[in-house]
Structure formats: structure tokens, C-alpha cells
């Protein structure tokens, strides 16, 4: 590995850090696909706890599920919801994002349609509701659930159930965390800031249109068997290891 390669590789990597995405028109895009440069960039990425997602049109940088030194828009949002009252809102927004990802992760034909039609906030609300109702019945099935175990889950279910869908009051309508639609708007705004979706018809019936960048991230992260195994291991691993470490 010579100095020139390292220099070019770092240029690519730091551009990725700065811009998150390098598209095919960037000079760095060409540079990246030099095999030696690519190897070095991948090494840098791995050492700093990040993944590089390659596709024909762009490369993207995201954090790994474990031990990244970097903060993200997601960890920011979490930081801002540390209090008991607001924490459950953060949990609910995470659930909303899960439902949204599930809603768009479908076969090719459906994907093309979703890219055109988007997912309306109200349709998403129904999806989340299905999930929460399911959780509700899981909790009811075992007496220990919700009392000693899975207390957060119960709290989230209760919060959602007693939340209004929407409010008529236009002034507080936007960004109102006390309604389901308000929560969904918050979660979608996070994805919008990340550059993964476009929000259309904001003043009417808002719809989230997933961008290709998002599909590529889903494909890389969740459609890969090895990574799936990794996620499974992470989820069942003991809390102690990575437990809510506020420094990351």
C-alpha cells in the first residue's frame, strides 16, 4: 500500500464522512473503484465502525450496528428524548420507522409503484396500529409481561392506544407529538433530514416517497444473510456489552 493510494483513499473516505453519499458524477466515485483504493477505504470504514454501501450509481456511508464512534441523526434524536416522558415518544418513532421500512420492502414491481405513490401518513398509521395491537395481545397472553418484563413495550402500547389519531386544530397540527400523525411526521422528518425520503403534499395528506438511497441501504443491511445473523446475535446478546452507552 503506497502513500498515493492512502492519500486517495482517505480523500474518498473523508468526503463520504462529510457528504454521506458520493454519486457517480463525483471524481471520488471513479477513484473509489480502483481496487487498491477501494480496499483501503473499506479498511478505514471497518476500523471506524462504518459500512460502505456500493451501488451502480453511488456509494454511501452508514454506521455499523455495533460500536461506531460516530453520532447520527438517529442518536441525536435519542439524545433529545432522554426524559421519561419523551423517551416513549422516541420509542414510538422508532416503531414508526420499522413499520415504514416494512411497508416499502416489497417485490420489485411494488417498489416501483411505492416510489411513485408513496405511503400516506394515514396508511402508515394503520400499519403501526396493527403492530401495536399485536403487541397488546402478546402482553396480555403472559401475566409477567408488562409487569416485570417488557415494561417499555407495555408503556409504548398504552401510549399509542390512548393517543388521538389526528387533531383538527390546524395551528398545533404540525409537529404535534401528542397525536399519532404528529409522531409519524416526526419520524418521517428524521428520514427526510437523512436524505432518504421526500415528503409531498405536506399541507394536504402528506405522503412519504422513498428514495433509491433508502432502498439501497435496506438491501445492503437487511437482505444479507450474514448480516441478518449478526443482527440476530446482537438482539439476543446480553445488555451488559453495549447497554445504552450514551457516548455513542
Amino acid at each position: 500500500m503506497n502513500a498515493e493510494t492512502i492519500k486517495r483513499a482517505s480523500a474518498v473516505y473523508f468526503t463520504l464522512l462529510k457528504d454521506k453519499v458520493i454519486d457517480e458524477n463525483s471524481e471520488h466515485f471513479q477513484a473509489y473503484f480502483n481496487p487498491e483504493v477501494r480496499q483501503t477505504v473499506l479498511l478505514l470504514a471497518d476500523e471506524s465502525g462504518t459500512y460502505i454501501i456500493e451501488s451502480p450509481k453511488r456509494i454511501q456511508l452508514v454506521v455499523q450496528p455495533t460500536g461506531s464512534v460516530f453520532a447520527t441523526n438517529f442518536t441525536h434524536l435519542k439524545e433529545k428524548h432522554r426524559q421519561v416522558e419523551t423517551k416513549k415518544h422516541f420509542h414510538l418513532m422508532s416503531v414508526v420507522i420499522m413499520s415504514f421500512l416494512a411497508a416499502i420492502d416489497r417485490n420489485q414491481a411494488a417498489k416501483i409503484r411505492t416510489k411513485r405513490e408513496g405511503i400516506s401518513y394515514y396508511a402508515l398509521e394503520r400499519q403501526v396500529n396493527d403492530l401495536i395491537m399485536n403487541w397488546d395481545s402478546i402482553l396480555k397472553a403472559k401475566p409477567a409481561f408488562g409487569e416485570e418484563e417488557r415494561i417499555d413495550m407495555k408503556e409504548v402500547v398504552t401510549t399509542w392506544k390512548y393517543m388521538e389519531v389526528d387533531t383538527e386544530d390546524y395551528a398545533v397540527k404540525k409537529g404535534n407529538r401528542r397525536t399519532r400523525i404528529g409522531l409519524i411526521a416526526g419520524a418521517m422528518r428524521l428520514l427526510e433530514t437523512e436524505g432518504l425520503i421526500v415528503i409531498l403534499d405536506r399541507d394536504d395528506i402528506p405522503k412519504a416517497i422513498p428514495k433509491q438511497e433508502l432502498f439501497e441501504r435496506i438491501e445492503y443491511l437487511y437482505h444479507d444473510y450474514d448480516r441478518y445473523e449478526l443482527f440476530k446475535k446482537l438482539m439476543t446478546s446480553e445488555e451488559g456489552e453495549h447497554a445504552e452507552n450514551s457516548s455513542n
Binding site: A11, L17, Y51, M98, T193
Partner: protein, 501 residues
């Protein structure tokens, strides 16, 4: 099975959208008229699409509905208009934005199947995905087919049939109809072209779609496609020569001459479109070949794992979570790192700055404030006053050149600098031609600044209501030189009005 069953499922799938149009809408006494109204609206959208008019947002469709109802001498309140509009866009509750569904009987499988369709869909060419904003709609193939069907062209509809039809019309001297017929042809080729564009985008982003069955066949069709275009050219040649002949025969009749010139221009335009389309198709094919040859790995089959099934349905839904850190671990890698510290390797960057965090930090707690777009407060009174002089000119002379600004009385000139909006509006008019349709709308449905200006002008000075329905456009003023006006360099274009035929 007798022949009455042959292709039955296909027939029904073609008819269902017609049967379903306006069905199940609760619009009270308007019920018997609903289909006529909706058909008129679809046609309006169709022609706007044809004329590259982007007034096809939901608010515009609402206006079309209201307008059609008025034209047909019916009465409707806002609620009914709202209902009819959303009923064209979605089935059932608007909030869920669901497509329409209808059943048909599949004679081969001998079972009932569900068909899903929409009448309108997002027009990617006009919807601004960068800024967000509102969806601009276009007709779906289904809705277009309804329009073609209503012209008794139900059989296999191809470009060539349309051309033959045009030739027939020209032979019979029905020039106007032939011109209109070309509109359909243009729309058809535009649509095919848009499809090719989408396909191209899709293919580059995600080459796997080439594995979808229907797309596979494209490659084999190449020769056929080229042949088709060759034929196309011949047809056009025939049409053009036919027009030439007719032109010579009717040399004395001015009206026919004019009609023919128009027709000729349109055919020229249509030809160009076809050529562009042909190029696009061939280009896509070559892309496809290149992708396949150079990156075979792109086509490896989908993995067996999916988010929807393995993460969401089988885990999150079925099992719930022990703690939310589980969800957080799954979600965290969807996000990119944000660097908030200065990296020690600053030599890489030299003078480049890390100011990104400043710009994109999500301040969720203050989101109420954040989402309300901070609108510049514009003193419209001043803007209107300044512009009223221009429109007075327009009303009398039909055009106003920017160069004439200098001729206005000095106190009027002062008005032009009170509000920056006043000057900015000039640039707005430099965009596409504007068809004035504001008088009967509510102010808050107007999104185009030019429309707001016209609306306010009409409210303030009723004499300007004559502009309703006219077309306002700009053209370059050839007789004037670029000039400097109070330190602004101004290109002297002029604003003109034209009556819409």
C-alpha cells in the same frame, strides 16, 4: 369453452375502470351526472398533459371539477366538489390513498381475481421531488385507454393505426380532426417515451429489474422495434406528401391553407418526437447489454432474507421486544455518521470546513416552529400598485416591454423598489406561459406567485377581470437594447397577452 369466453378476463379488465368511475361516491343529487363530470375532468387533464401544462395538482383538479359542473349547468357545494375530486384520486377514505379495486372473472384459471388500478398518478416530470411541494398528476394508461375507447378506437391501439386514421381524415378533408388526431399520437409517443425514461432510470439504479420477465423480452424485440420505426417514417412521408398535394389543389382557399400549414407543423413535431423516442429505445437497449456484459454480479438473485419478512413480520410483530435497544440496533445502521468533531487529519481537507452539522442538526423539540415555512412578509398593496400600471398597459396595448418602465412617471418608478417581490415577479413571468384562471378560486388555493398577483389585482381593480382566461407570456423585445435601470441590468423582454382559442 365457446368463443364468448375468449379473452374475457382481458375485456373485463378493460371495462372495469369505466364501470367503477365515480361509483360509490356519495354526492346526493349529482349522482346521475357523476360519470359525465369525471370524464370531462379526465379529458381536461389529458389535454393539459398534452400541452405541457402543469396545472394538474389536486387543487387544480378540484377547480376542473367545479368548472365542469358549472359548464354543465349543475350545482354543487364545496363538499361535493371535494368528494368528487378525491373520488377520482383514491378509492374510499382519502387518508389512506388507496388504489381502486374491481373483480373480474379469469376464464382460464376459472376463478375471480382482483384488479387494482388508478385513474391518475404522479407525473414525475412535473412533480418537484427536490423541494417537496404538491403532486402533479397525469392520467394512467387505464384512464388514457378510456379516452381512446370513447373515440371508438377500442381495438388494439397502436401508433400505426392512429396514423392510418389521420391519413383517412386528411383524404376526406377533415383537417381539424386530423390535427386533433395527431394530438393523440403525440400523447401516445410522449407516454411511451416517459415509460422508457422511467425504465432507464430504474435500470441504472437497480439492474435487477431486467430480470423481471416482461422486461426480458425487450432485448429480443430489438429488430422488431427498429422495423416499426422504419415503417413509422414511411407513413409520415405519405402523410406529408398527401398534405402537399391537397395544398396545391386548394391554393385559393386561405382557410384550408392555414389549416394545412398547421397540420404540417404538427406532423413535423410528431416526427421529431418519434425520432427522439426511437433513439431512447435504442439507447436503453445498449445500456441493458452493457450492464449485462460488464456487471453480471448485479443480477445475482435476491437473497432469501428480507426486512419485511424476517425483521418485521417474524420478529418484531410476532415476538415483540425485550427492550427498545433491540430496535435501535436494527435501525441505527440506516443512518450515516455525523462528524461533529474536527478530525485530526485536517491536512486532508486544508481549508475545507465542517459546517454541515450546523446546517442539518435536527431540532426536534422546536419542530412546530421548524415546519412552518418562514414566509417573507410581502406588502402586496405596494406590489399591486406597481403592477397595476403594467396591466393597464397590457389591457390597452396587449403588450408591455420592460424598456417602457423608464418611461413611467417617477413616483411610479419609486413604487417598483418598495418591495423586492415586485421586481422578482418579472422573473416569474419569464417562466412558462400562464393561463389565467384565478377569478373563481379561493386565495389560499393559489400557489403560483403570478396567480396571487393576478388574483389580488382583480380584487383591487375589477377592470382587470377581463384577463381571466387569457394567456400571459413573455417574449424577447427585439427592438430594444439591454439597459440599466437604477443599477439593475435589464434584458428587455416584454409581457404579452393572448386570447385563448
Amino acid at each position: 369453452m365457446n368463443e364468448s369466453w375468449e379473452g374475457f378476463a382481458q375485456r373485463m379488465q378493460r371495462l372495469n375502470p369505466l364501470f367503477e368511475l365515480g361509483r360509490g361516491m356519495e354526492v346526493g343529487e349529482l349522482k346521475p351526472y357523476i360519470q359525465t363530470i369525471l370524464m370531462q375532468v379526465l379529458l381536461t387533464i389529458f389535454y393539459r398533459e398534452l400541452n405541457d401544462d402543469d396545472h394538474r395538482r389536486k387543487a387544480d383538479i378540484k377547480y376542473m371539477v367545479g368548472d365542469s359542473i358549472k359548464q354543465m349547468r349543475l350545482l354543487a357545494d364545496d363538499k361535493q366538489i371535494e368528494r368528487i375530486t378525491s373520488g377520482l384520486l383514491y378509492q374510499g377514505k382519502e387518508e389512506y390513498s388507496k388504489p381502486f379495486e374491481a373483480l373480474y372473472y379469469d376464464e382460464i384459471r376459472q376463478s375471480w381475481e382482483t384488479q387494482t388500478f388508478r385513474y391518475v398518478t404522479m407525473d414525475e416530470l412535473y412533480t418537484n421531488l427536490e423541494i417537496g411541494g404538491s403532486i402533479v398528476y397525469k392520467l394512467t394508461d387505464v384512464a388514457q385507454e378510456m379516452i381512446f375507447m370513447s373515440r371508438e378506437m377500442a381495438e388494439e391501439f397502436s401508433i400505426t393505426i392512429e396514423q392510418l386514421y389521420s391519413m383517412q381524415l386528411i383524404k376526406n378533408g377533415n383537417f381539424r380532426k386530423a390535427t386533433r388526431n395527431l394530438d393523440h399520437l403525440i400523447s401516445r409517443v410522449n407516454r411511451l417515451m416517459a415509460n422508457e425514461f422511467t425504465f432507464q432510470k430504474e435500470m441504472i439504479n437497480n439492474p435487477k429489474i431486467l430480470l423481471m420477465e416482461e422486461e426480458w423480452q425487450r432485448a429480443d424485440n430489438r429488430v422488431e422495434i427498429e422495423k416499426q420505426f422504419e415503417e413509422e417514417k414511411n407513413h409520415f412521408r405519405t402523410i406529408t406528401s398527401m398534405i402537399e398535394k391537397t395544398k396545391r389543389r386548394n391554393e385559393k382557399d386561405d382557410l384550408i391553407q392555414k389549416e394545412l400549414i398547421l397540420l404540417q407543423e404538427k406532423i413535423g413535431h410528431t416526427r421529431q418526437l418519434h425520432d427522439r423516442f426511437a433513439k431512447l429505445v435504442i439507447q436503453n437497449i445498449s445500456y441493458e447489454m452493457k450492464l449485462k456484459a460488464e456487471n453480471p454480479s448485479l443480477f445475482w438473485e435476491n437473497s432469501l432474507v428480507s426486512f419485511r419478512e424476517h425483521f418485521y413480520e417474524n420478529w418484531l410483530m410476532k415476538e415483540g421486544v425485550q427492550g427498545f435497544n433491540e430496535i435501535e440496533r436494527v435501525l441505527s445502521p440506516i443512518f450515516s455518521p455525523k462528524n461533529e468533531f474536527i478530525l485530526p487529519l485536517d491536512w486532508i481537507w486544508g481549508e475545507q470546513e465542517f459546517n454541515e452539522t450546523l446546517l442539518t442538526d435536527v431540532v426536534i423539540e422546536d419542530e412546530v416552529e421548524e415546519t412552518i415555512t418562514r414566509k417573507r412578509v410581502t406588502n402586496w398593496d405596494s406590489v399591486i400598485k406597481a403592477w397595476s400600471y403594467v396591466f393597464q398597459y397590457l389591457q390597452t396595448y396587449g403588450e408591455f416591454s420592460l424598456a417602457d418602465l423608464v418611461e413611467l412617471p417617477l413616483e411610479v418608478q419609486d413604487l417598483w423598489f418598495e418591495e423586492s417581490e415586485t421586481i422578482d415577479l418579472w422573473m416569474m413571468f419569464d417562466k412558462k406561459p400562464l393561463k389565467v384562471q384565478v377569478l373563481h378560486r379561493k386565495e389560499d388555493t393559489l400557489s403560483d406567485e403570478r396567480e396571487i398577483l393576478l388574483y389580488k389585482l382583480m380584487m383591487e381593480y375589477p377592470q382587470f377581470q377581463v384577463f381571466e382566461g387569457l394567456k400571459i407570456f413573455t417574449s424577447f423585445d427585439h427592438r430594444a437594447e439591454p439597459f440599466t435601470w437604477y443599477r439593475m441590468k435589464i434584458t428587455p423582454f416584454k409581457i404579452c397577452v393572448q386570447e385563448e382559442k
